[in-house]
């Protein structure tokens, strides 16, 4: 066991897998000699060589497209997209090729690409370094989509992603790279060493994809969330002084419906929160799933707390961010309903 922040945990996952499986290679902008703009691959090129940790041209579509070919030829590529905001030039290769290759070839071809991308706001990144585009991926058949909320989960889930023969889009909420964040930017930063999620085994371990985690248990309400918002939601629950299940979805696709169902059937009330803007966000699917599965148990409308339906603005970062106050307001609304 070590103390790791999320960057170190990601790096450790990559290191463990590169060591364990010589077919694992890394491809991305600035990932090689430099070790990545967020340092997630620091030291790996020195350790595994230039042919396994490969600096790439600034061409996201080329990175994903060539990674697919690399994967078809028996290697196991982990592609880094420098910011989730820059994944869009690679969307066609993800949607049209990566996601559907196995299906269209009758199961004969596949490419086990993992795409890592830092996502989310709260680092003064403005509209081009703050996005949470997970909903564009969760609608696709054929890729899995994952977002961890702690170093421990990041490592275990990333290892599963790399080992998976299915393509995985792995979003890393960059606001919590260095520590959990409760949504209040005015409070001093908390390091991961102060959080149990920062305890990370140095060796191999994996967390299966498709399993949510109940990070906090309670009776009155179910909060379903993922990424940075797990911590914000927990803080809001404590501040509101209510007893709630806080569920970290972790694996957005495939979704662990059972865990959600068990909880909402118990509490009868449900709040869903994410950073991405609300309309057509992943939260919409969560609402739809919960209302389909648990309708007869619901004692109040399911509420969504999410980014506003605007781009993520630089100056209004903390007005845009779905912070504790908005969650608490919705909690109150839900709890008042009779």
């Amino acid at each position: 066991m070590s103390q790791m922040n999320m960057i170190q945990a990601v790096r450790s996952a990559l290191d463990v897998m590169m060591h364990k499986d010589p077919t694992v290679i890394i491809l991305g902008q600035d990932v090689g000699y430099f070790g990545g703009v967020f340092r997630c691959t620091d030291g790996l090129q020195e350790k595994y060589g230039e042919h396994r940790v490969i600096d790439a041209p600034i061409a996201e579509g080329g990175i994903i497209g060539s990674a697919i070919g690399i994967g078809v030829n028996g290697l196991r590529p982990v592609a880094e997209i420098q910011f989730a905001d820059y994944i869009y030039p690679g969307l066609d290769q993800i949607i049209s090729e990566l996601a559907r290759l196995r299906y269209r070839s009758g199961g004969e071809f596949f490419s086990p690409v993992t795409v890592r991308a830092p996502c989310g706001g709260g680092i003064r990144g403005g509209q081009t370094h703050s996005q949470s585009p997970e909903a564009l991926f969760t609608h696709l058949s054929g890729v899995k989509t994952v977002m961890p909320s702690s170093p421990y989960d990041a490592k275990g889930l990333l290892i599963s992603a790399i080992e998976s023969d299915d393509p995985v889009i792995f979003f890393e909420p960059k606001r919590i790279y260095n520590g959990p964040f409760d949504g209040d930017p005015n409070k001093p930063a908390v390091p991961w060493s102060k959080h149990p999620g920062g305890e990370v085994p140095e060796d191999y371990y994996s967390i299966p994809l498709g399993k949510a985690e109940v990070v906090e248990e309670g009776d009155d309400l179910t909060i379903i969330t993922y990424g940075t918002m797990v911590h914000v939601a927990q803080a809001a629950v404590h501040k509101a002084g209510i007893s709630a299940d806080v569920i970290d979805v972790r694996s957005l696709v495939p979704l662990d419906v059972e865990t959600l169902k068990t909880s909402v059937e118990k509490t009868g009330r449900c709040l869903i929160t994410h950073e991405a803007s609300r309309f057509g966000g992943y939260g919409a699917e969560l609402v739809a799933t919960v209302q389909e599965e648990c309708f007869w148990h619901l004692q109040a409308p399911i509420e969504r707390v999410a980014g506003w339906e605007t781009p993520y603005p630089h100056a209004f970062e903390w007005d845009y961010f779905p912070a504790q106050d908005r969650i608490i307001a919705s909690i109150q609304k839900i709890m008042e309903a009779v």
Binding site: I25, G65, G69, V72, N73, D92, R102, G106, E108, S141
Partner: protein, 414 residues
Amino acid sequence: MTPKSRLHIPQPSARPGDAPDFSYLSLSDAGAVARPDSDTPASQIENLASDLVRVLDDDGIAQGEWVPDLTTDQLLEALRMMLLTRQFDARMQRAQRQGKISFYMQSLGEEAISIAQGMALEPGDMMFPSYRNQGLFIIRGTSLVDLMCQCLSNTRDMCKGRQMPIMYHNKQANLFSVSGNLATQYPHAVGWAMASAIKGEEHIASAWVGDGSTAEADFHYALTFAAVYQAPVILNVVNNQWAISTFQGFAGGERRSFAARGLGLGIPGVRVDGNDLLAVYAVTQWAAQRARQGGGPTLIEHVTYRGGAHSTSDDPSRYRPKNEWDAFPLGDPVMRLKQHLVNTGYWSDEQHAALEEELKTFVNEAWKEAVTYGTMTEGPRLDVRVMFDDVYAEVPPHLERQRQQLLALREQSE
């Protein structure tokens, strides 16, 4: 708005009703282009991107330094494979007209490219075909029945009913799955070649796109990555003069050849007579050798002509002269190889006619077998259960649930 405008709109040389005009095509004489060593630096062979490598002259005589080392038996086999491809196309075209399959795309007039390249590459080399490379599947031994069953989406369909006709693959034969999305296979080929180089293997990759498809992003990505990593890959542009209704000028072909597209990245380009099986074979061998030696990528432009409609959904008489193919100065690849073999005394019109008959029968036999596995309208049908397979490596619970839902519904309605 003023009517004044300087926006240049590319114009094809002839429209329906006009006389065909291929004066825009710059041609070299057969044998006229020198063959450099395959390790010559790209900067010294830029002429190959503008000249046209040709071996067979107008009389069907092989000329010059590019004459490949092919035995008569190999040439006869090549002719057979080209003819087989053409017969296959004709049969499938007819099947579509008869409503037996939903769609089809012929490679009429372009058969030499797939057959020559299929012969020039090693079995371990990986191919990333476009939808007009059925010849690659044929030359690599895919059974016609398998190809037909794919087009039929029937119980023996390699794609398990998931793809439109012609989207074949053949894993064993190292033929990648054909995509409906243009040019996406180009970066795959480069990535595959990169992996081969990483692993230190000798295998190279090869990919094909049409002239029109070069405008897509993936063309650029592939060239860039191939140049940066000097990937052992052959990137082919099959310039059949037309996309759907737009001629190659709309892909930027008015001023320079497609072979020249990689020069700015230091990728050598070779422009070859795509209707000359010997020339295509020679150029492919050259590029393959270059790649295997560590010389990196080569871009080959095959100058040819799309002899048929774009697809069974298309009617080319709306946008180009009906007789344009007849006027194409590089002729018909089958006739050209036939002429060569007849000239050299190893072949005759009678043998040719007999071969055509033999292959027609062979194709018809295959078709008869293929339809026993089902057609769109009759015979056995694929089990609908497979619709939910292969989305992921293992069927996840939600898809299993959906499968059961569908089955319950089907039972109910019976």
